[in-house]
């Protein structure tokens, strides 16, 4: 049996969803028989592969870089899974949305008591006007809300998808 | 039980109009909107003093009075300018270019609907239909209904008001 290609992606989030993924513990070993981890912040591949079966996305789409990445990933992924509240609702990253980028950057980098106050502009991707959930940018196939979703839930979703079934856990999951 | 009458906030004669309206309605709670109309007619807008006076006189909670005053768009809690220009945004006026008139006022006088010029000379307001659709686009300049408005003739009138400022 060929192993399914799995990727995990970290956009604007706290990495908590990835921690929860790792919390699957020994079940990861069980999964390892049927999946091949082809791209992830947890491993060292630099390029997102041409064809990926399942991609778990953590984090909101907050910057130009996030946007570019997720569009590329969508093109090369069969089943895209929004993992956790940041990907599903934009969650904490969206708390800046009502105020606008300038107000936020000024509040953080232009405080009068800061020495050499200046907004970083080199080597960091510029922020989008608002942080968005992944499905507002590209089509999403499966939603797994939670902050973070539990290891059990992630395991259930991944194993159902590996079995080519649409996981139905809508009433089991909640925001937050 | 006879309720004690609340004294007017000051000896400003304009309060008499408000008091008279409330008295005519027997200080009943349902006179709230009528009382607010009187207060706005007397003072041009509703400040917190008016709202409190009406609330106390009619025995109504402050929040209810504030809620009513802000529900109806006819009431304003901000003092208007010396002159007011109301542009009708009814459908007939919109179809005939009321939107462009508003835009041109915005461009030429830096005045948006609901705003007053910094020198308090003129306020721009919009209405939801003056019922003078036959004259569309129409407006009200200091209480006088004027029809067939154009960006040009509106600008003319506004300039007249603003020029006399100094």
């Amino acid at each position: 049996m060929t192993r399914k290609k799995l990727a995990t992606v970290w956009l604007d989030g706290c990495s908590g969803c990835h921690m929860s993924f790792l919390d699957m513990d020994e079940r990861l070993l069980a999964l390892a028989d049927s999946i091949e981890l082809v791209y992830s912040p947890l491993v060292d591949f630099k390029q997102f592969p041409e064809r990926v079966d399942l991609t778990l996305v953590e984090g909101a789409v907050s910057s130009e870089d996030d946007l570019k990445k997720i569009r590329h990933i969508r093109q090369h992924t069969r089943v895209l899974i929004s993992l956790g509240d940041c990907a599903v609702t934009a969650n904490v990253p969206s708390m800046r949305n009502p105020f606008g980028v300038k107000a936020i950057l000024d509040a953080v980098y232009q405080q009068p008591d800061l020495l050499n106050a200046q907004v970083p502009s080199e080597g960091v991707p510029s922020l989008l006007p608002v942080a968005r959930p992944v499905h507002m940018v590209v089509p999403v196939d499966v939603y797994v809300p939670g902050c973070p979703p539990s290891a059990d839930q992630i395991y259930f979703v991944v194993s159902e998808l590996l079995a080519e079934r649409q996981p139905d856990l809508r009433r089991m999951l909640r925001f937050g | 039980m006879q309720k004690l009458l609340v004294p007017a906030p000051s000896d400003d004669k304009r309060w008499r109009m408000v008091t008279a309206t409330m008295r005519r309605h027997g200080y009943r709670r349902d006179a709230l909107i009528e009382a607010l109309h009187s207060a706005q007619e007397a003072f041009g807008y509703l400040d917190s003093q008016s709202l409190q006076y009406v609330a106390r006189s009619l025995n109504l909670p402050l929040s209810q009075v504030y809620g009513v005053a802000t529900f109806y768009s006819f009431f304003t809690l901000k003092p208007p300018g010396e002159h007011t220009c109301v542009i009708c945004l009814g459908t007939a006026c919109y179809i005939k270019g009321a939107g462009e008139i508003i835009a041109s006022i915005q461009d030429h006088f830096d005045l948006k609907p609901g705003q007053t010029t910094p020198d308090d000379r003129a306020s721009l307001l919009t209405a939801r239909c003056l019922g003078t659709c036959g004259l569309a686009p129409s407006g009200v300049f200091d209480g006088e209904v004027v029809g067939n408005l154009t960006p040009e003739n509106v600008a003319e009138r506004l300039e007249e008001w603003l020029d006399h400022a100094g």
Partner: protein
């Protein structure tokens, strides 16, 4: 007033109730769940949240269960794909209207909006978020009002008026601009009418009203007083 007993069907089940009862009351007496958010026993029903809409045979429009009195022979359906679709949209609308960040909310895990989303299977919001800018009012000694989490159910307004009798809360403006506020739209702490009784806080379905000092997920609400007060008031009448 005579209180005849009427019989009707809810979801195919024969049920009966007094003629002055609503569809919602009769359904609850028979353990049939109809979702609600604005309705609360002990307060007047206003039919605002639209979650309790039900289908009734031979009635073209959907009816508000919390307000509609039962009728003899009525055939009520409380569940259908269409109703569920509408109910999910109502919940999505609420999430899109305010700034609901469950993960950092005092009411996380105790929130009626969050629970309702789960119950109705809302796993994401496909309406654009509106991201309004709303100011938190922490001027009161003991309580905080965070309008970002307010769903305008007006339970606070109703309990303050109908039970406490202070009428500190009311709505200002209208439509998408409406918000609850105290007295003349002043800081809550400056309100002259508030008795600090806290009933509004405990009836609030979300984390919009909460006690100072409570951290994430720590604010669970106590509602036992409401039925008790309602019964006692009934006895005095």
């Amino acid at each position: 007033m005579t209180n005849r007993v009427l019989t009707l069907q809810i979801n195919g089940q024969e049920v009966s109730g007094r003629e002055d009862e609503t569809i919602l009351e009769v359904a609850r007496e028979h353990d049939i769940h109809i979702p609600t958010l604005c309705q609360l026993e002990g307060l007047s029903s206003i039919g605002a949240c639209r979650l309790c809409l039900v289908e009734v045979a031979n009635v073209p429009k959907l009816l508000t269960a919390c307000i509609t009195p039962i009728q003899e022979g009525m055939e009520v359906h409380t569940e259908s794909e269409r109703l569920n679709h509408y109910r999910r949209l109502v919940i999505e609308m609420l999430f899109s209207e305010g700034n609901h960040i469950c993960s950092v909310c005092v009411s996380n895990g105790h929130c009626e909006l969050q629970n309702m989303a789960q119950l109705l299977g809302v796993d994401h919001v496909h309406l654009p978020y509106r991201n309004p800018q709303r100011r938190v009012d922490a001027s009161h000694d003991r309580f905080i009002f965070d309008p970002n989490r307010c769903i305008l159910c007006t339970r606070c307004v109703r309990v303050c008026d109908e039970v406490e009798g202070a009428h500190t809360w009311d709505l200002k403006a209208r439509g998408i601009q409406s918000q609850v506020m105290t007295d003349l739209n002043q800081p809550w702490g400056d309100s002259t009418s508030c008795t600090s009784c806290g009933k509004c806080v405990h009836l609030c379905p979300t984390g919009a009203l909460f006690e100072k000092g409570k951290s994430v997920a720590e604010m669970s609400k106590r509602r036992e007083f409401l039925p008790y007060l309602t019964i006692m008031r009934g006895k005095h009448r």
